[in-house]
Amino acid sequence: MPFPRASGPGRKLILLSLGVALTALLSGCANVPHTTVLPKTEAAQKIQDLYVLIFWLAVAVFILTQGGLLWVLWRFRARPGHELPEQTHGNTTLEIRWTIAPAVILVIMAVPTIRTIFELESAPPAQASGLPPLVVEVVGKQWWWEFRYPEIRKPNGEPLVTANEMVIPTGRTVYLHIISDNVIHSFWVQQLMGKIDAMPNHENKIWFTAEDPGQYFGQCAEYCGIQHAQMRMNVIAMAPADYEAWAQRSAQPAEPVTDIAKAGAEAFVTNGCAGCHTVDGNPTAIGVIGPNLSHFGSRTTLAAGILQNTPENLAAWIQDPQAIKPGNFMTNQHVKPTDVDALVAYLHSLK
């Protein structure tokens, strides 16, 4: 064999050098972890426990089978002067053994699997605090997320609606009721819980309890059209007191204070933004096609989690949303530069 060891040490070397180079390259990046193996909730931890069990079982089987295979290949390689080997045809005892052995391993896997399925897919367990779970209705849109809080009522009695950033309290179970009004999406915040699809006509539910305050990254996991890749979201977990403050603030409309922000409120209507977006307190802005922007200024990201919510990014987005997220439903309204500044000021004033 002219090329026998290229997959062994050679590959490792390539991998190693690449790894070193890229680590050096990327060490400056601030990462929001998206990994599934560092769960931050008990529900996700249950999944992780199961994963660890099956991972090590798989590793054991992997070593046994691949090791056995390599040994057979080495031990029984043809050598000069080799006689015709014994023509064995089978061995029923062996067959029965290697039918039963995997079956036993699978039963070991099946028992905790089914137990965990029923735990995770039942209603959330009662909490020590005695509080009922916080229900948030999640609606998958093309290509953003809407969150409705039936528990938080605005002055007009309607539930609070927000988009792309879901604020939740720590220490209290969150019970998500997930649905779509268009195609199928999948709600996936890796560190909080496994994914569940957002289906039209079919509500799915998951629950979890975030213990640590912080920002959790999420993303649509079911292919849903041209901008599936940029259908991201953030979940922001706050201490209960902070959450209460947020809820009270968000229930009230935010008012523009500065002159330029007030001009922006008008520009929001004259440039047609109001046709698709709702802003509480702006009586013309009652559109429901795009995300609700009532407290846009308090969000950390824009365009469904793909850009930091800075004035520059927002201005770029308003001027040409198709350049940033091609194919999305926000059209280029050809907003005048002065109006862009006003809109940015207005939207960022909506805290």
Binding site: M1, F3, A6, S7, R11, L18, G19, L22, T23, L26, A30, P33, H34, V37, K46, I47, L50, Y51, I54, F55, A58, T65, L69, V72, F76, A78, R79, P80, E83, L84, Q87, T88, H89, G90, W98, T99, M109, T113, I117, E121, N182, V183, I184, S186, W188, G194, D197, M199, P200, N201, N204, F217, Q219, A221, Y223, G225, I226, H228, Q230, P326
Partner: protein, 657 residues
């Protein structure tokens, strides 16, 4: 690796010289390929067309990998990317692995069972032309509205007219229906062929394992394709005639598509992998110089996989909210299917155990199959663990898993099969030295491409995304985040490309060389190795009489023994008893032996060879026009329909000899 083993002698040459094959009407030239009904030529057509589509699907894969090598890349637009991954999946499944398997069915099965051709030669030709036109029709979409962009799985309601108003999905759903006709025609043909046309003495349990896998794959096709046909017809009615089977706001059921699709889709996975398993089950024994270990168990395991394969479809839908009872059931049934699969892997290892293993290129690919498919099987079991699947579903972990099954499995098996049977297909041998370069490059590139995808998936990278952010990912392993691993994956993909370019070079080099392949280059065990390379148009002059499994292996050894005056019942070769109990029970008569030895020297001019026919290609073209008219106007449909009617009429009235 020059190893000389005591080779059994081929049967002693008879006294009389063999007449030339030219006594049969010879078919040459372009038209002869359009009208051919010879299963071997159709096999070559199927194989070369499928390989052309493989190159197209591979090109799409490379474009996907260039786009994903770096975050925020603008190499292709999001729209183009979605078309690319849709067509990559659709092409590799429907236009490469399936037809490539059918190419092997066509060429090898009649030879393995000692038949002159398939049962319905013209239907066979029709199957090929329908496949070709269906594949071309699907790719023609590129020149109109763009290629299909709904994913190979085409989930409704995304694929309904409300969300995909252009004709792209129409091209996809119509050509899949055309391809379904091709698959069903082929499947029925092989069922009838295998059940009815086996050589005398070839009982089911003496059948070569590749033929067994063909039989079971054909059953799976026959039972699975109706499900996707129903799904596609409902989608067609939704899109073209305004029904609402899938469109939720009007009362449609978005889950209906998924159930129908995966009732087809999961058996489809076995339709893709079983032929390769059959090839591997032929290759491993030959290069271990031992019969397949546990033949009946391998056969039963294949049948069991076929059955259970219809009861696991909802494991593709664990995150759709089916409820804990359904999820538990499908978790258990999915785990269950790992048992017969494991039995096969153990039996392959048992075959090699105690053998004299020759590391030829086909053997390397077969060993690669066993090893890589095992990894794909292990991650497959992981997906049966529903809660874990809630994290892995639709992530790159799944992409890694099914590429280990379909690339490390099906593709490695097919490559092994190509190297194994190349001499039968072309009369030439492929270069072994280059073959080893091909194997090691493809093997290394494959693991570099799909191995890191496990990390990406566990790291939370969803699939079918055209881009990702520079700040995404988690550098938990080797300090590599999404960017790092994606770059490695792309490098791996290009290594595969280099390996395959060497393969193409090697194939062309072989085809330009002399037709000098021996009849039995590998010391084969099954009947196709008893025929010249390539076999004559009529295959067997006299139907071979089969007295055991591995008929040719035993057959090669019997005449010497008989001539030496040995007792055939206790025939020994190389100090060991050769053949099976069934074989040893039967004492062949002298007449049989004489007949067998003269089998190739009967007068071919007297054989019945089915006539070439234009009607299959005309009928296939009519069928395609009928479907295309749904997009280009009903006039075309009507014309296609009339064409089809005329072709079927002519076909029915055509004299067969």
């Amino acid at each position: 690796m020059a190893v000389t083993l005591p080779r059994p002698q081929a049967p002693a040459a008879p006294a009389q010289a063999a007449p030339e094959y030219g006594t049969l009407p010879a078919y040459h030239g372009f038209v002869s390929w359009l009208t051919t009904v010879d299963h071997k030529r159709i096999g070559i057509l199927y194989g070369s067309t499928a390989f052309a589509f493989f190159l197209l699907g591979g090109l799409e894969a490379l474009m996907i990998r260039i786009q994903l090598a770096t975050p925020g890349s603008t190499f292709v637009s999001p729209d183009a990317f979605n078309q690319l991954f849709t067509m990559h999946g659709t092409t590799m499944i429907f236009l490469f692995v399936m037809p490539m398997s059918v190419a092997f069915f066509n060429y090898i099965v009649p030879l393995q069972i000692g038949a002159p051709d398939v049962a319905f030669p013209r239907l066979n030709a029709f199957s090929y032309w329908t496949f070709l036109f269906g594949g071309i029709f699907m790719n023609l979409s590129y020149f109109f509205d763009g290629m299909p962009d709904g994913g190979w799985f085409g989930y409704a309601p995304l694929t309904t007219i409300q969300f995909s108003p252009s004709h792209r999905i129409d091209f996809w759903m119509l050509s899949l229906q055309i391809l379904g006709v091709a698959s069903l025609a082929g499947a029925f043909n092989f069922l009838v062929t295998i059940i009815n046309m086996r050589a005398p003495g070839m009982s089911l349990m003496r059948m070569p394992v590749f033929t067994w896998n063909t039989l079971i794959t054909s059953f799976l096709l026959v039972f699975a394709f109706p499900a996707i046909t129903v799904a596609l017809i409902l989608l067609m009615f939704d899109r073209l005639y305004g029904t609402n089977f899938y469109y939720a706001p009007n009362g449609g059921d978005p889950l209906l598509w998924q159930h129908l699709f995966w009732i087809f889709g999961h058996p489809e996975v076995y339709i893709l992998i079983l032929p390769a398993m059959g090839m591997v089950s032929e290759i491993l024994p030959v290069f271990s110089k031992k019969p397949l270990f546990g033949y009946p168990f391998v056969v039963y395991a294949t049948v069991a996989i076929g059955f259970i394969g219809f009861g696991v479809w909802s494991h593709h839908m664990f995150t759709t909210g089916l409820g804990p009872i359904a999820n538990s059931f499908f978790a258990a049934s999915t785990m269950l299917i790992a048992v017969p699969t494991g039995v096969k892997i153990f039996n392959w290892m048992g075959t090699m155990y105690g053998g004299a293993i020759r590391f030829t290129t086909p053997m390397l690919f077969a060993i690669g199959f066993v090893s890589m498919f095992t990894i794909g099987g292990l991650t497959g079991v992981m997906h049966a663990i529903v809660p874990v699947d809630m994290q892995h579903q639709d992530s790159y972990f799944v992409v890694a898993h099914f590429h280990y099954v379909l690339f490390g499995g099906a593709f490695f098996g097919i490559m092994g099969g190509i190297y194994f049977w190349w001499s039968k297909f072309t009369g030439r041998m492929l270069d072994e030295k280059l073959g080893k370069w091909v194997f090691w490059l493809v093997f290394a590139g494959f693991n570099l491409t799909f191995g890191p995808m496990h990390f990406l998936g566990v790291d939370g990278m969803p699939r079918r995304v055209y881009t990702y952010g520079a700040n995404q990912g988690w550098s938990g392993w080797f300090g590599m985040d999404w960017l790092g691993w994606n770059m490695v994956v792309t490098i791996g993909a290009f290594i595969i490309m280099v390996g395959m370019l060497i393969f193409i070079y090697s194939a062309f080099k072989a085809l330009r060389g002399p037709k000098d392949a021996p009849t039995d280059p590998w010391d084969g065990a099954t009947l196709e190795w008893s025929l010249p390379s390539p076999p004559p148009v009529y295959n067997f002059a006299v139907a071979p009489v089969v007295r055991s499994r591995d008929a040719f292996w035993a057959w090669k050894r019997r005449p010497q023994a008989v001539e030496a005056g040995e007792n055939v019942a206790t025939l020994q070769v190389g100090g060991h008893t050769v053949g099976h109990a069934e074989f040893e029970e039967e004492h062949p008569s002298e007449e049989y032996l004489a007949q067998e030895r003269n089998a190739y020297y009967a007068d071919p001019a007297t054989f019945h060879i089915p006539n070439p026919s234009f009607f299959p290609i005309i009928a296939a073209f009519g069928l395609t026009c009928l479907a295309a008219g749904m997009i280009f106007g009903y006039a075309l449909s009507i014309a296609g329909f009339l064409y089809l009617i005329v072709a079927i009429g002519g076909w029915a009235m055509e004299p067969t000899s």
